[in-house]
Amino acid sequence: MQRRTFLQLVGAGSAALAARPLFAATQKAPADQFFIFVHASGGWDVTLWADPRNEKKGLVDPASTENTDLAPLSHWKSTKLEGDVETFTILEAGALRFGPGIGDLIDLHDRLTVVNGLAMNTVSHPDGTAFSCTGRHLAGGRSPASSIDVAITNELGTAQLLPDVAIGFPSAYIGDHLDRRAIPLRIANAGVMAKSLARSDAYLKDDDRAAITALLAEESHDLAGRSVFPETFERLASQEESLPHLLGNELKAAFTPQALQAAYPQFDYKVKNIGGGILGAAFAVEAMKRNLIRTIGFSLGGLDTHNQNYKQQAHTQQELFGTISTLVKLLDATPHPTRNGHKLADSTHILVFSDFCRTPQINLSGGRDHYPNNSVLVISPRFVSGKTFGKTDFEQVLPADAGLNFSDGARPIAPPDLLATFLSAFAIEPRKYLRDGEVVKAMLR
């Protein structure tokens, strides 16, 4: 081989390597996956579930018979704390350790991925919520980046009729580079969907409405053709075009609260503490079964326990994780709409997060306040399950070195790392959506 030919070959090879993105997609992004994001709003006490503490050490005042209402708890096993006061026994489930708040979800422990010691750097509800689902802190009260559900919808879900539904979920659609169909449908509760779609047949009929929306879509296209900035008109046109599918009678009837409760009696809709968000879980299963959505986010609340209401924190968590457990079992039993022989659970990825966690010490009002640490739960066939990642120090419950060899040195996991890992699991380039964050390959299968 001549020297010149050799140098040309080496040069071409180097150029090809240099052009390869750092997070090169290793496999084609799947188009038949579903994503559920659950916001446990208010800030949960991680010492009651993912990062259990049952000893008085350092700042830690563990949950005890003095500060917790034990009556409704199904997984509290008492052990002596001091004097007559008792605390809980830590529940061992494979490699995972839980407090009593985990409730029935402990039965599915081999499918759970737990991330502890997330560095939140905030104790503000809106900021913690935004940081958890966008990887960025708020700027001037607004989210500077899109949330994880929007990013995934933009990559994998724009062809769906309802690509991204956010039921009380803090979705954010930011930037001009995203597909307009990824704009989340934000509603306060699942019942609103049916009410917005409901139409009286007393005057106009569905045929008339179809003619009206067709006319409006045509007008939007026409105005887009004459406009210097056609994007807004084009967006309206695409939304008008999808409206007749939504206004079909079958869909309206399926999404009423009564229909959802009748179809999924497995959920306990009468639970006291986590609010009406459970209907969102039923909506998620129904919408996935009909292949209408790609991502759905909903909120389950009641965790902001600053005062004596801390007595219910463990019970609230039990209701929260009980709902997640029921949801997973329903997904196990429901056929996938497009993959023969598969169940929804095979292709559904769930991320459960909260604003932040609560202080290790009990305050003078008998509650726990905001604390800049957090835990996250992932249930996904793409993640290594039955394992905990990240950790906190024992005495202060603050984020500690996760031992994951991050490129910027020893540090805890932060929300951007988790979001980057989540996107990477589906061959989505994280840098397209996240300014920060490093993929934790150890979490992925």
């Binding site: 709003s41 509800h125 809106p126 309802l162 009380g168 659609y173 307009r180 704009i183 989340p184 449908l185 934000r186 509603i187 306060a188 509760n189 019942g191 609103v192 969907m193 009410k195 917005s196 779609l197 409901a198 139409r199 009286s200 007393a202 005057y203 106009l204 009929k205 045929d207 008339d208 409405r209 003619a211 009206i212 929306t213 006319l215 409006l216 045509e218 007008e219 939007s220 026409d222 105005l223 004459r226 406009s227 210097v228 900035f229 994007e231 807004t232 008109f233 967006r235 309206l236 939304q239 008008e240 999808s242 409206l243 939504l246 206004l247 909120s299």
Partner: protein, 218 residues
């Protein structure tokens, strides 16, 4: 003496003053005014849109609208739609929505249809409401239907909802709306309906105009 004074006066009289010739000022640099839009159109904020709705339909307060629109399942309660309309919902900590979505259009459509149907009942049905007391349909349905009569009536609605005469609208808007009117009227010719076929067709035209992109964007 008098004669001498007269001669002196005539001799000293001022000559007639004539204006100088006018000439055009020398040309300066010409600068064109750039009237192209610098920003893309945006949705009007939900408050503005709702205020416009309430004004168009007779200056009602929201509770009156709710009461008027509710019968026959046309509407529910404002509380049910706050988030879907894009308004912030402080009860559930939902911020204001900055982009339209399909559900928002569906909700605006539901509201528009309800108010148009109620307005048609008040203004058109029975033909007893004097023109100056009508809230939206300020025209009579008497006489034969023709392109001209449609144009005149459509112009009333076009000016109400979009703010300018229909003949200035771009494209074939009048033709398209006339086709919608004809289509709906034909479909309801034999249907049992609280309104006549013509009145129902005007409800359809009103419902389309109230959701028109030019009404929703600025």
């Amino acid at each position: 003496m008098k004669l001498a004074a007269l001669v002196v006066l005539v001799g000293c009289g001022a000559g007639a003053i004539t204006p100088s010739q006018t000439t055009a000022l020398p040309a300066h640099q010409t600068r064109m005014i750039d009237t192209t839009p610098k920003e893309r159109r945006r949705m009007v904020s939900p408050e503005v849109y709702l205020r416009a709705y309430l004004t168009w339909f007779g200056g009602l307060v929201p509770l009156d609208v709710q009461n008027r629109a509710r019968p026959k399942g046309l509407f529910d309660a404002w509380d049910d739609y706050l988030s879907a309309l894009g308004l912030p919902d402080y009860k559930t900590d939902l911020p204001r929505q900055t982009q339209s979505n399909t559900l928002m259009l569906a909700t605006l459509g539901r509201l528009g249809e309800a108010l148009c149907a109620r307005a048609a009942e008040h203004d058109l049905h029975g033909g007893k409401t004097p023109l100056d007391q009508r809230v939206v349909f300020a025209f009579d349905l008497d006489g034969a239907d023709s392109d001209e009569t449609f144009m005149d009536r459509f112009d009333v609605l076009h000016r109400t909802f979009l703010g300018y005469p229909a003949k200035l609208a771009p494209g074939e808007r009048v033709t398209k709306f006339h086709a919608l009117w004809t289509d709906v009227a034909a479909r309801h010719a034999k249907a049992k309906n609280p309104l006549t076929a013509d009145e129902t067709a005007w409800v359809a035209v009103c419902t389309a105009l109230v959701q028109h992109p030019e009404a929703e964007l600025y």
